[in-house]
Symmetry: C2
DNA sequence: TTCCTGTATTTTGGATCCAAAATCCAAATA
DNA sequence: TATTTGGATTTTGGATCCAAAATACAGGAA
């Protein structure tokens, strides 16, 4: 059981900030006024600042001495770079995952996929994005490389804001579902290279779609 | 010109803490007593805590709610995992670096290598480790992928403590110098795959040496 | 007008203070 | 003796307060 304990203010602020940034409520480039945010979240500036420090480590916000924090904005080049790094890391994660795939791991991915489809049905973009994340993470987790998974997770965080653009399109949502099904098939057959290639295409399509919108 | 400005307390504390951890003055697993450390560094607990938060993001320290921070210790598995991730990222960085290698970049690497050799001559292990880092980073920087380089840098940080073990041996120091020279040769000839392979061996040797000491 | 320049205001960075959680330790009980 | 329990102590988490840096702005000179 994961600690049922009143969450510390920092954790609360951290979650809240992540949401605010990835949903775009705090817009890229915008300076973060500590006092204002602290008042809004009803905490003092101390836990806020600590949360911002971890967000800085994840690349979601930037900081300049005596000028304060600001929401980091990804250029198109940055986006491509993040996806390049993801290609490198996720390919390895999938390769390893296939090698040590367990029934439980596969079941977790299947469960997540069921949620993805349910969310797509209901046209609930946010829920779909979340379930999609669980689907992929479930697979990565099987690799048994916790640090690698943690890195991948923070890379996902840093581009969350853009992924919503992708899911906005009905066609993309259908595509995601198809590719997930195909991925599960390949996993069941323990076809590592097939899965790696498929997921690489999966990412490439996302990048391309996002680029075409932003470019 | 890199800002000549009185460094903020946080930056000072951050550097100091990194040094303390990577040199082993703060030992793995050891809990970090904030008040004590703050007194030692002659700052209040606030900037200390913020520095610890960034260190946590880098994986150098861990944190548990209401129990505080502690120096993260890497198991052998963790060490292998970090080096696996480095393999993936650095291979790509080198490949790209060779493609867009500039005279300035090459010169930077050569300058760093000169320092490595000077430090080795003087048997100054710490200076050698630092120069070695500059050598590799100089190469990676040429890739023109700042996020990738930043990731690699934090991976290096997380294993700095172990690298000193490697440099303690005279034979290893000689080996490093040889391999660096060979690397520079390959770079001058724009032999990307050769450099990638050589540096992979470079890392493998380090892991093996460290394992044999700790195992 | 445009460009300085010096001052008021805002905002961040850091120190101190307070509350809450965890640890420690001794006495009491089974 | 081993274990539990109740408080004293320590240590962290958070709020408030103060200092220093940056920004905004008004007035003056070219």
């Amino acid at each position: 059981m994961t600690s049922r304990r009143p969450p510390t203010a920092q954790q609360f602020v951290l979650e809240e900030l992540r949401r605010a940034i990835t949903t775009g409520r705090l817009r890229p480039g915008e300076p973060i006024r500590q006092e204002v945010l602290a008042d809004e979240l009803d905490v003092s500036r101390v836990p806020l600042r600590e949360a911002l420090k971890t967000l800085q480590g994840e690349g979601l916000v930037g900081h300049r001495a005596h000028r304060g924090y600001y929401v980091e904005q990804l250029s198109l080049d940055d986006l491509r770079e993040v996806y390049l790094i993801r290609d490198l890391l996720e390919a390895e994660a999938v390769r390893r995952a296939v090698g040590r795939l367990t029934d439980a791991g596969l079941a977790a991915a299947e469960a997540a996929q069921a949620e993805v489809e349910r969310a797509a049905e209901a046209a609930d973009v946010l829920a779909m994005a979340e379930a999609n994340r669980r689907f992929h993470m479930a697979i990565f987790e099987c690799a048994g490389l916790p640090r690698l998974v943690r890195l991948i997770r923070t890379l996902w965080d840093s581009t969350d804001a853009y992924r919503s653009v992708y899911y906005a399109e009905e066609a993309n949502r259908r595509r995601v579902i198809e590719e997930h099904r195909a991925t599960l098939d390949l996993l069941r057959r323990r076809d590592a290279e097939g899965a790696v290639a498929l997921l690489a295409g999966h990412r490439a399509a996302a990048v391309e779609a996002i680029e075409s919108v932003l470019g």
